[in-house]
């Protein structure tokens, strides 16, 4: 089964790749589902929508932009290999760029970002796959991942794992003292009091986020 919508993260922001062979209504429906599931993930991100080789008609472009707007997203550009589509976009006042699509679309679940620094207050790290941070995540910082988040350091900020809807995502840190933890659609506030002093893992257990020491989790 091919995915109709693929999300890729890059230094420039997020790239939403839409399948260019499937029917347009199916693609739009898939996009709508993805945006609804990952509202937190997309919030505030720079987004490029890549429609591939599809020749987009005026009203199809309008539908796409309306759907994005419904979710309070303003794409910074439209990418397409079709000159016709790029012209359509420019005529509608949307920035358009030629896109180069890689040969095979990699499975984004397997991809990961590696960050080696202190993530400070006001800074956001966002990636469609997993995120590994070697360093501290300070209070006021945000780490948002489609997959799991590993912090080799002190986690004091806000982390959202599985932000595209993956309830199997986990969050682990050497010192897990976050302001707030989010996994998929669930939110947990950090318990008051001192840190446990051992590395911990947060995951979804039933319908809530559970935190347990790494030693008991691995068994």
């Amino acid at each position: 089964m091919t995915k109709l919508v693929t999300i890729k993260g890059s230094r420039e922001g997020l790239r939403l790749q839409l399948d260019d062979a499937a029917g347009w209504p199916d693609v739009l429906a898939a996009l709508r589902g993805q945006l609804e599931q990952g509202a937190q993930f997309f919030n505030g991100a720079r987004i490029v929508v890549d429609i591939g080789d599809r020749a987009l008609a005026d009203e199809q472009l309008a539908e796409l932009m309306a759907l994005m707007r419904q979710h309070h997203l303003e794409p910074s550009a439209l990418g397409s290999t079709s000159r016709e589509s790029r012209n359509t976009a420019r005529a509608a006042g949307v920035v358009a760029r030629p896109s180069v699509r890689g040969a095979g679309v990699a499975d984004e679940r397997g991809e990961a970002a590696f960050v080696q620094r202190t993530i400070r207050s006001g800074q956001v790290v966002r990636h469609h796959g997993h995120i590994t941070v070697v360093g501290d995540v300070n209070a006021g910082a945000e780490v948002i991942a489609g997959g799991s988040v590993v912090v080799w350091g002190r986690l004091r900020g806000t982390v959202h794992a599985g932000a595209l809807g993956d309830r199997a995502a986990v969050i682990c840190a050497i010192e897990l003292r976050p302001t707030q933890l989010r996994i998929a659609d669930l939110i947990a506030r950090a318990p008051d009091g001192a840190a446990s002093g051992v590395p911990e893992v947060a995951r979804i257990d039933g319908d809530q986020i559970a935190v347990e020491p790494w030693e008991s989790y691995r068994r």
């Binding site: 400070r120 207050s121 300070n138 209070a139 006021g140 002190r154 004091r156």
Partner: protein, 270 residues
């Protein structure tokens, strides 16, 4: 080689202006030629702290807008002829200057001074960006309070994003007794969060309030604990290796040598 150093904090009221005035004076006492610049346009304070308020004729915005030459706007300090103040405009706001204006201004000041210290406004907006635009290095001032440290963390991230290198930290208004009672964040607590180099610790000192109100900076008063701490920081800025000591709350007593804790302030290696 002259150095342009911006003193910033994020949060207001943690001691940026006091630090700028004291470091500027202390460097002048070492025989350096120093300009202190008030970049807090619309809310100027540095002139008051230095006791020079009644001598202002022209200000920074007048220079930028070409109503006077730089030299006309510079005010000579009462005690040290090698210390000059470039005051901020009080009747204008942050939009009166641009980052390019500030870079041009600091380059003009470099030609005449060994040190240019810029007192940044609080906040993360244009005023702050202008204040660091021409800087070679940045000193972050914070107090041992959660809110101040949080804002310092934000500012450090921005300073690093603007490619101003690694800022160094002044921890202001520490009360060693409260720390030892576990009621205040310790030096270690603050450094654990901010993870930057410490250049000095200034103890809480009531004399600062009176000296600030009189327009006489603390470094001129040999009995002031805060004054001695600022003197040490100025020496470290100049590259001297001065061990970090925190002057205790009890007057005259110098206690708690922090070298034993595994960190010490270092002078600049330039």
């Amino acid at each position: 080689m002259s150095r342009v150093i911006t003193i910033s904090s994020g949060k207001g009221g943690v001691g940026k202006t006091t630090s700028t005035a004291n470091l500027g004076t202390a460097l002048a006492m070492q025989g350096m030629k120093v300009a202190v610049v008030d970049a807090d346009i619309g809310l100027r304070n540095l002139d008051v702290v230095l006791g020079l308020e009644n001598r202002i004729v022209y200000d920074l915005v007048d220079v930028v807008e070409g109503r006077c030459r730089l030299r006309q706007a510079l005010i000579r300090d009462k005690h040290f002829p090698d210390l000059c103040l470039l005051p901020a405009a009080q009747t204008r706001d942050k939009d009166a200057v641009t980052s390019d204006d500030m870079i041009a201004l600091t380059n003009q000041l470099r030609a005449e001074f060994d040190y240019v210290l810029i007192d940044s406004p609080a906040g993360i907006e244009a005023g702050f960006r202008n204040a660091i635009a021409g800087a070679d290095e940045v000193l972050i001032v914070t107090t041992p309070e959660v809110a101040a440290v949080r804002d310092a963390d934000r500012i450090i991230g921005l300073v690093e994003a603007f490619d101003k290198g690694h800022p160094r930290l002044i921890l202001n208004r520490l009360k060693p007794r409260m720390v030892s009672r576990g009621e205040m964040m310790s030096i270690e607590d603050v450094l654990q969060i901010l993870a930057i180099e410490l250049i000095g610790v200034v103890p809480d000192d009531e004399l600062i309030v009176t000296s600030t109100n009189r327009g006489e900076v603390a470094v001129l008063d040999r009995g002031s604990r805060a004054g001695r701490a600022f003197n040490d920081i100025a020496r470290r800025l100049a590259g001297e290796d001065v061990p970090l000591t925190v002057f205790d709350d009890s007057p005259g007593l110098m206690s708690r040598i922090f070298g034993a804790f595994g960190f010490r302030a270092r002078g600049s290696e330039r």
